[in-house]
């Protein structure tokens, strides 16, 4: 999802990991668990740290109360309108597997069909290729990492 708060736009890509869940925030993975205590009230576990927070949504508006501060955010459609700048497409793992090669780094320009990384699954190597030309925004998958279906591995701007 993409959210706007004031002038800033953030891309948030939640995904499951072997140990739980994480969210890729603008290309930076944050590993955490979130439990709903009661409607609108949640507890986040970030390592040993626990943080109670509040979050409600009304249409496209998302209201967040985090560490004593109320924020009003707006959900924006990814890629639907406006400049692509700041936005990204997430490239997902198609199957459970192990990353055996990472061929790109953030900031790199890639061509259509260029190999981005390789996942080994069911004893086969599967190349993950760029579906279009663009710049690599982030690479969330590390060499040797086990990935599950749906987890975002590479983002393209």
């Amino acid at each position: 999802m993409r959210v706007r708060v004031g002038e800033r736009v953030h891309d948030l890509l939640p995904r499951a990991t072997s140990s739980g869940s994480e969210v890729v925030v603008d290309g930076r993975p944050v590993s955490l668990r979130v439990e709903e205590l009661r409607p609108g009230t949640f507890v986040a576990q970030l390592g040993s740290r626990r943080e109670i927070f509040h979050c409600v949504r009304e249409g496209k508006e998302i209201h967040l109360f985090w560490q004593g501060v109320a924020y009003r955010l707006r959900e924006e459609r990814e890629g639907a309108q406006g400049p692509r700048r700041g936005g990204a497409f997430g490239l997902e793992a198609p199957m459970p597997g192990k990353v055996i090669a990472v061929r790109v780094v953030p900031g790199q320009e890639v061509a259509l069909g260029q190999e981005l990384l390789v996942i080994e699954a069911m004893k086969m190597e599967n190349a993950l290729r760029a579906p279009r030309a663009g710049r690599v925004k982030s690479v969330s998958a590390g060499l040797g990492e086990m990935v599950s279906p749906g987890s975002v591995l590479v983002e393209l701007e």
Partner: protein, 493 residues
């Protein structure tokens, strides 16, 4: 003396809820009144009965004397508590309630009128030895006379309507050349707002502190004070943060200020709870400003340090009982602070911010009190005062009450309407506030530009993403699978 039965609360919001609480403690049934906009408001559910009194516009409902007295009659109420604002200082209302054979919880109409007239009140105070702000309160309202008086007082001068309040019809004039035009503007505003264009002039004091004395008087003429409150943190004549004891007062100054408050109440022939407001100048001299002939918004800080329930005392005095407290019984324990939570949008010049309360959590803990007029789902409309709730923190000393307030402010959750919460947090964290260096221009001096909302950290955004994905509050028709929003293409697709 009579025993009070059912109490009609002629108000709304947090004060109506707060009054209903004390009535319940005393075993008195309560009656709420409400406008069309407030049919589902919190104060309506907190009373035993509720009567509609008119349209959303206050002029047709909460300010309509006939409608409220009519509701009191229909409900079989014995007493009417006016709260603050609305009709609370309206002498005609007090008289109409009394004429209907009901007890008005406040002073009689004549006292409201006496103190509601700034010109007369200034004269009465000066004659009773209570110092007033240097100024002019004469009958001659000729332009030339007023200009000459302004010259005598010295610039800058404040022009204030003799009848009125809330900053309407009021101007600060910096220099002679601007005076006559400002006077005309004040008269126009006052004539339309209050139906009277009599003006008083007062010297504009340089960065004064606002200190006030809580008084309590019974029908037998006993008057006591419940010490002072300082309310210097104001914006556009609206108080934001209040406290007691005032960090500005020495014990000697406190005694003379409180004695002046009692003298003012006696001079006014006061009955019930009231507040005498003073300005304290930089040289430590205080000057009478006005008397509020009602319960004050900030009364809970007094309750916290003196250990008395002011609404209970109001009801007892109104029932004709003698004051149950003597002056020598009154002493302050610790320090209390109040922050007013307003529905105001800091991003839009603090304009009132209507909306629905989508999420709500009240602070808790030792020494914390939360007087709220809202709850989850409440509609905050544009029709009334934007005050949502008051946070009160008590501590053994100012340092502790401030620390408790800071924690309470971090726990106060109101989502769906913009509030001044971040501003309140910034005020109590401010060095000058902590040092007790307060004055009525504090906010203008230290908080003139809107504070930027802090940047959201990655962990907060991550929490948000999972919360939105997990909660059932997704709008209809939207997928709840967080992974679906990832993107349209997959490997091998």
């Amino acid at each position: 003396m009579r025993s009070l039965g059912k109490v009609l609360i002629a108000n709304r919001g947090e004060i109506a809820v707060r009054i209903a609480r004390t009535c319940r403690v005393l075993g008195l049934p309560t009656v709420a009144v409400y406008s069309e906009a407030d049919a589902r408001a919190r104060h309506v559910h907190e009373c035993d009965e509720a009567f509609p009194i008119g349209p959303a516009e206050a002029a047709g409902s909460y300010l309509k004397i006939d409608a409220i007295v009519g509701a009191a009659r229909s409900a079989g109420a014995d007493a009417v508590h006016p709260g603050y604002g609305f009709l609370s200082q309206n002498g005609d209302f007090a008289d109409a309630v009394a004429a209907a054979g009901l007890v008005f919880v406040g002073p009689p109409g004549a006292v409201h009128r006496r103190m509601g007239d700034k010109k007369g009140a200034r004269r009465l105070m000066a004659a009773s030895g209570v110092p007033v702000v240097p100024g002019y309160d004469g009958d001659d309202q000729n332009d030339g006379v007023l200009l000459a008086e302004a010259e005598r007082i010295g610039w800058p001068v404040m022009i204030k309507p003799s009848r009125g309040g809330g900053g309407k019809g009021m101007r600060v004039v910096e220099r002679r050349d601007d005076f006559v035009a400002a006077l005309a503007a004040c008269r126009r505003e006052a004539a339309s707002a209050f139906g009277d264009e009599t003006m008083v002039l007062e010297r504009r004091l340089e960065r004064p502190r606002h200190v006030e004395v809580q008084v309590l008087a019974d029908a037998e003429g006993q008057v006591v004070h419940l010490l002072e409150r300082e309310c210097s943190i104001q914006r556009r004549h609206q108080k934001v943060v209040e406290e007691t004891p005032s960090p500005a007062l020495t014990q000697q100054l406190r005694e003379s200020l409180c004695a002046a408050g009692v003298a003012a109440a006696r001079a006014a022939g006061y009955v019930n709870a009231g507040t005498v407001e003073f300005l304290l100048d930089a040289s430590g001299r205080f000057h009478f400003l006005e008397m509020n002939t009602r319960l004050q918004v900030e009364h809970p800080v007094t309750e916290a340090v003196v250990g008395l329930d002011l609404v209970r005392l109001q009801l007892e005095v109104a029932a004709g009982r003698p004051l149950p407290v003597r002056q020598e019984d009154v002493s302050a324990r610790g320090h209390a602070l109040e922050c007013r939570l307003y529905a105001e949008d800091p991003d839009r010049g603090d304009l009132p911010s209507p909306g629905r309360v989508l999420h709500y959590a009240a602070p808790e803990g030792p020494g914390v009190r939360f007087d709220s007029g809202i709850e989850m789902g409440s509609e905050v409309t544009v029709h009334y005062d934007p005050l949502l709730a008051k946070l009160i923190a008590w501590g053994a000393d100012r340092k502790e009450s401030v620390a408790r307030m800071q924690q309470a402010l971090r726990e106060t959750v109101v989502l769906g309407v913009a509030t001044n919460l971040a501003r309140l947090q910034a005020i109590v964290a401010h060095e000058a506030f902590r040092a007790g260096s307060l004055h009525t221009a504090f906010l203008d001096d230290h908080f003139s530009s809107p504070a930027a909302t802090p940047e959201l950290a990655d962990d907060a955004l991550a929490g948000l993403a999972l919360a939105v994905a997990r909660s059932g509050s997704e709008p209809a028709g939207r997928a709840t699978d967080p992974f679906e929003s990832v993107g349209p293409w997959r490997l091998g697709a």
